[in-house]
């Protein structure tokens, strides 16, 4: 009896420890595509879809773009290969080239680093790096790509033939498209997307139709806001083509860019005067520079003050203080503000900020575009991602899996160091918005991305 008991006791103990002690979930439902077919997924979009981050296109950003993360999840439900025009894993990447004082500049990704300002104060901030122009080297020989995502592309550019034609002068073609267009002179983003014969597509476009204008501080470049009629026509052309062979898809509306960190980090009352001597100095300078302005309108006090801006409509003097609702761009040189009177006795120029009518213009067009995007989704029976609402929730502070993210620049975790594009973490959260919409629309059961696997802004050691 004793022996038997010992044996059975031993057996129970072992069985429990070896097997039962490792609980398993065996009845996981398989991912299904519902009524959609993800065999060939093509993503059409701009820098966000490309995974552009920290002001540049670089490998890690591409690998964690929402489109790539979405494609990885679609593979669980019958999705095929998702080919991306990757830059080399060894390059630091490159941002949109621009013409600087000494010629063409190829910026690299911002990194968070200690930056010593003009006053000798060292603090943590985004630091510009040099980019690698060879990242623009063509990868078109790799074949057709599923990711037709071109930084800088507006909706009106998508059907534009020759958008990557680099035989044209700088500034009249897009080098981010040249590097992978199947035919630089003959292809448009849309035609390259169609060469892939997509069975499923995502379209996230339209941001740049207002954003490029906003980044320029308003009408100070050749990037005007796309007229709504042109935007609407482009969307119809794009969707007519993408759905021509019965492909299903998902489209996203665009966020209200006036609430992203690039425009909200520097407040309109950010002219901080530390002490009375500084106030006296600034006031003396203002008086000297703008003697005709009533002293009430050109006096600063110790503490936060509203920035001064140039405004030709104000007489006399042509300057005024910024008003609530007007936005200072993150790209305004901080050293100039701190040490050289920018925003105080050297008032902001038009390209440094968005005035009330520019902000209103941006908001109106954003709303118009979004009306079009949503009605197009309904009319064409597409899944619809309310990216605007998503960004709003990320801005007000969003908690998931024990992490709080917000739009707070750098520490918020969702926005990368350019204040416009998302971090891998932000991309993971956005990918889940796409997945939720696709699942709801097509009765699919695509598993979501686990956002805790993706990082926010990296901090230097």
């Amino acid at each position: 009896m004793k022996n038997i008991l010992y044996k059975s006791f031993y057996a129970v103990a072992c069985a429990s420890i070896v097997f039962a002690c490792k609980p398993k979930f065996e009845d996981q439902p398989a991912a299904s595509a519902g009524s959609a077919n993800f065999a060939t997924y093509v993503a059409v979009g701009n820098s966000i879809t490309a995974g552009y981050a920290d002001g540049a296109l670089y490998r890690e950003g591409q690998e964690s773009s929402y489109a790539k993360l979405l494609a990885d999840q679609l593979k669980l439900a019958g999705g095929g290969e998702f080919k991306i025009p990757y830059v080399s894993p060894t390059t630091q990447g490159v941002g949109a080239p621009f013409v600087g004082p000494s010629g063409l500049v190829f910026p690299g990704p911002f990194v968070l680093a200690y930056v010593t300002d003009c006053k000798g104060v060292t603090s943590l901030g985004p630091k510009a790096t040099a980019g690698d122009p060879t990242a623009f080297a063509s990868v078109a020989s790799q074949g057709l790509f599923n990711s037709i995502a071109v930084p800088g592309a507006k909706a009106i550019h998508v059907p534009f033939q020759g958008y990557g034609d680099d035989t044209h002068p700088i500034g009249t073609y897009n080098p981010f498209f040249s590097r992978f267009a199947s035919d630089k002179a003959g292809a448009s983003m849309l035609s390259d997307a169609m060469l892939k014969n997509p069975t499923f597509f995502s379209l996230f476009i339209g941001n740049n139709d207002v954003l490029l204008y906003a980044l320029a501080g308003g009408p100070f470049s050749n990037n005007s806001i796309t007229p709504t009629a042109n935007f609407n026509a482009s969307i119809d052309i794009i969707l007519d083509s993408l759905t021509k062979h019965g492909a299903k898809g998902v489209i996203a509306n665009i966020p209200d860019i006036t609430s992203i960190p690039h425009f909200t980090t520097v407040p309109y009352y950010g002219l901080v005067v530390p002490d009375a001597p500084t106030a006296a100095y600034i006031n003396a300078q203002l008086k000297a520079n703008y003697p005709t302005v009533d002293s009430v309108n050109r006096t600063v006090y110790v503490g936060p003050n509203r920035f001064f801006v140039e405004d030709a409509s104000v007489t006399p003097g042509g300057i005024r203080k910024m008003n609530p609702g007007e936005l200072v761009l993150l790209s305004v040189p901080q050293d100039s503000i701190k040490c050289y009177g920018l925003g105080s006795f050297v008032p902001f120029k038009g390209q440094h900020f968005l005035n009330a009518s520019e902000v209103a213009d941006i908001k109106t067009h954003t709303a118009d575009y979004n009306t079009k995007l949503q009605s197009a989704a309904i009319a064409r029976d597409l899944a619809f991602v309310d990216a605007n609402a998503f960004l709003k929730s990320a801005i007000s502070g969003l908690t998931f899996n024990g992490v709080k993210v917000s739009s707070t620049f750098v520490s918020g975790g969702a926005f990368s160091l350019d204040g416009v594009h998302l971090t891998p973490l932000g991309n993971a959260l956005l990918a889940n918005e796409f997945i939720k919409s696709i699942n709801a629309k097509f009765g699919a059961t695509i598993p979501q991305v686990d956002p805790t696997k993706y990082r926010g802004v990296k901090f230097p050691n």
């Binding site: 009896m1 899996n401 024990g402 901090f459």
Partner: protein, 406 residues
């Protein structure tokens, strides 16, 4: 030695802190009978289960026991393919009891040193809940001097003073990536202490029937000098200074009512119900001595509710020397929907127990038990962390004790 059986209840209130991994391991005999002990007077573990029963113990004795606890949890993140398992090390709650009283006296004195909770839950690296918890190690030891008075052959009363000491080691990842993308880490360690008491009454109206009623007070375990350390990129180190913290956890009061019944000389049946005052656990707060923009005091709602446990057990004296035991318990979770956390992936549990005792000599006895706690699979969306998923936990606990009676 004559067998005297006392119903011992196991739902020690004390267990609280890591309730999820709270297991009631205060006596091998009682443990193998489903955790019943309040209505029994079978051995020195009555010091824990019912001080009133101590005076009815036939002999003086000392015993020492250990219950290696092997807990495993699996987690499935909602709407995802992400799964995670715990990689918790085996924890080893122990017991040490002594009971002494002169044969002619109605007084008996006892001392118990035991581990009301002592477990480690550790989740695998990089799991989905890493920003909430990666590891929680709790160790507590209660020291309980006890007196018991036998009013007559039918009634015994007793009480004990509880001094609890404990250690906590809590770790989580921080969403502050290093240049290589690795997360930051927080480590909170500290010692806690608290005091309480237990008291009980033991009735033996007939030779066949025994009844026990026991109360264990709440013990507030306070961490006064905790140390918070952070491993973050150096550019953030000023935001995450090493600092002291304070925190506290209520180990809830418990009321237990148990009965023992001997239909024959060889068979003992026991049953018991525990009421555990978990509603005292309202929140888990950490108060850091130094606060920064990044390091704020935390207040996390727990909102436990009072819970019951139901237990039955049996012992059969197969031979003069060998006893076999079995039991079953149903423990209801105090954790409400929306409040399940990775530190305590709790759920209602069914507990199956078996055990045996062998009396090598008149004075020397070995008892062994095996307990399997099978948690109900539980899906929960944690409100605070916005973290949804399904937990499944199984705990296996072999145990062994040695007793010397005189």
């Amino acid at each position: 030695m004559k067998k005297l059986f006392i119903l011992l209840i196991a739902a020690s209130p004390a267990l609280s802190f890591a309730q999820g991994f709270q297991v009631n391991l205060q006596g091998q005999k009682q443990q193998s009978m489903g955790g019943t002990g309040t209505g029994l007077a079978i051995d020195e573990a009555s010091v824990f289960f019912n001080p009133g029963a101590v005076s009815h113990l036939e002999k003086n004795g000392v015993s020492v026991g250990v219950s290696p606890t092997i807990g495993n949890s699996t987690f499935q993140l909602d709407n995802s393919t992400s799964q995670a398992r715990t990689t918790s090390p085996v924890s080893t709650p122990f017991t040490l009891y002594g009971v002494y009283g002169k044969a002619e006296s109605n007084w008996k004195f006892g001392l118990g040193v035991y581990t009301p909770f002592g477990s480690t839950i550790q989740w695998e690296d990089g799991w989905s809940g890493k920003y909430q918890l990666t590891k929680l190690k709790l160790l507590s030891v209660f020291i309980q001097p006890t007196v018991s008075y036998k009013i007559n052959d039918k009634i015994g009363i007793g009480a004990g003073f509880v001094y609890g000491i404990g250690d906590i080691d809590l770790r989580r990842d921080l969403p502050t990536p290093f240049p290589n993308g690795d997360p930051g880490k927080a480590k909170l360690t500290g010692s806690a202490s608290g005091i309480g008491f237990n008291a009980g009454i033991y009735l033996k109206p007939t030779e066949k029937l025994s009844i026990g009623l026991a109360y264990r007070s709440q013990v507030n375990m306070k961490v006064n000098n905790g140390k918070a350390e952070f491993t973050v990129p150096s550019s953030l180190s000023s935001g995450f200074p090493e600092t002291k913290f304070t925190s506290s956890l209520p180990l809830p009061q418990t009321i237990s009512l148990g009965v023992g019944f001997k239909p024959t000389e060889k068979l003992l049946l026991s049953a018991e119900v525990n009421f555990i005052g978990w509603s005292a656990y309202k929140s888990l707060d950490f108060d850091y001595e130094k606060n920064t923009a990044q390091l704020q005091d935390t207040h996390s709602e727990r909102n436990y509710k009072d819970a019951f446990a139901y237990r039955i057990g049996a012992q059969y004296a197969a031979t003069e020397k060998l006893s076999v035991r079995a039991g079953f318990a149903l423990q209801m979770t105090p954790v409400q929907e929306g409040y399940v956390t990775p530190e305590v992936p709790d759920a209602n549990r069914q507990t199956y127990t078996v055990g045996l005792g062998y009396k090598f000599t008149e004075k020397f006895t070995v008892d062994a038990s095996f307990t399997l706690e099978d948690f109900e699979r539980r899906s929960n969306f944690n409100k605070e962390a916005q973290f949804g998923g399904t937990y499944k936990t199984i705990i296996a606990i072999p145990g062994l004790s040695l007793s010397y009676n005189f």
